[in-house]
Symmetry: C2
Subunit: 248 residues, 2 copies
DNA sequence: CGCCGCCACTTTGTATACAATAGCGTCTTT
DNA sequence: AAAGACGCTATTGTATACAAAGTGGCGGCG
């Protein structure tokens, strides 16, 4: 479905396959809520886990830093970002600003084929929700917003959105108590219809409320430090490609 | 003026000093319009020019790729991005979406001290314009928008803006025929006043027109391939820190 | 004479080795 | 016994060496 023209893939295309595996492993672990906030990501350790060199690991860490998933302090190394409530609010405010535009563009330029793409994607969301495949569902929910941005056709907005979506996923993994809900998929479906109809005004309004509802679900009460902090424990399962594939 | 809290600096803080020098050299060359679009940036060459290793060069190139200043093709290396008219339109559309929000936030949260910061910054813009210091003026014009975003207080929007501003600078360096104009600084001054007054509505409107005027000035008529393509020629002057300092 | 294939060279990608820095424990001194 | 300073260890930062891939030129063949 997503060929080389897909902006999110485009942004990753330059990465070495090995580095990409590490990035995906971290993102997968994030979707599964197996991320210890503030957990340290030693280069040597990752190199051993993924059977590659530190050079490649550093590539991956740089990319994750760019996505806001890890913090890198000079001479201190990388650790999982510890997003604050303020950061979450900023992030969602930014999303509202960006996605208001992507939705408007999508409503303007949506073709019949685009509508089919959206519906097919929503089908996959439904399937993932039915199968209670949390990781896939988290991935698809974010990806759907990218699909809309792609229909809008603004490559820059696509790129920006693909950057901040993983951070939203991180925040939700740490602070969202409600994993499975069909309502969001229903909102996606309604959104798709409004876009296909070209009703930009209503589509924007729905997107805004859709995002605000998501944001309000966040609660920063949970003490994230309570999670496992042994990175090799929680990342170990994601290191081997076959292990990751098997779960998916 | 800008301490560690400044988002743009924050995003660069992790880079090695040597890598930062390379990034700044490219950005300076860009401000001076000494950038051959599509020009190849060989790693070995840069390593020799900046008297460092290819490891550091690669770091800098990765960062420039993040900023959209260079394209990196696998096994082909890095080259200066060749932005299209479409890309420019997308970029400015994204800026309008983002800066509408930053201006609104700034108008809401602007303090007396923030106003002084803006005015002081505008003073520097005036000084650079009077001194016909093109590089400094280009830098300050972009930075002013970041100052506004900083006043707004949304770190994510600051970060996103700091990412796309260099690309705007690249596009203007390649396609903007009008280097020196005081009108933009006047607009900045008016914008500052509206923000300080808390008039979000008018401030947003002015920002939109400000950006649209800038965008309309762009003309993609010039054949950029006509420029020098010998990277060592145009970057040589920026390689040595003292050389760059001397011009500034 | 033109085109196709092969070989050499150039350039990038990856891994490893070395250097520098921060954190931490211990030892000494007051 | 407590506090400070020194040195050790663990981890990151940087450079170099080796491997792989791509590009261009040369020679043979049609």
């Amino acid at each position: 479905m997503f060929d080389t023209a897909f902006p999110a893939e485009n942004a990753r295309s330059h990465l070495a396959p090995a580095a990409l595996r590490i990035v995906d492993a971290v993102l997968d672990a994030l979707s599964d809520r197996n991320l210890p906030a503030g957990g340290k990501l030693g280069e040597e350790l990752l190199a051993r886990l993924f059977e590659t060199s530190r050079t490649t690991v550093r590539q991956a860490l740089q990319h994750l830093r760019f996505l806001g998933i890890v913090d890198i302090e000079p001479n201190r190394g990388a650790s999982i970002a510890r997003p604050t409530a303020r950061m979450a609010a900023d992030l969602y405010a930014a999303r509202r600003a960006i996605e208001a535009q992507t939705v408007a563009d999508a409503a303007r330029y949506c073709t019949a084929n685009d509508m089919r793409t959206m519906l097919a994607h929503i089908e996959r969301q439904d399937a993932a929700a039915t199968a209670k495949n949390r990781r896939e569902l988290v991935r698809l929910r974010g990806e759907f917003h990218l699909v809309i941005a792609e229909i809008g056709g603004n490559a820059v907005l696509c790129h920006l959105l693909s950057q901040i979506l993983p951070r939203c996923a991180l925040i939700r993994a740490l602070a969202d108590p409600q994993p499975f809900t069909k309502r969001q998929i229903d909102e996606h479906r309604t959104l798709a219809q409004l876009i296909a109809r070209g009703d930009a005004k209503k589509a924007i309004a729905l997107m805004q409320s859709h995002l605000q509802i998501n944001e309000r679900q966040l609660g920063f009460s949970g003490d994230d430090q309570a999670r496992v902090n042994n990175v090799d424990v929680w990342l170990g399962a994601y290191a081997r490609p076959q292990a990751a594939k098997r779960q998916a």
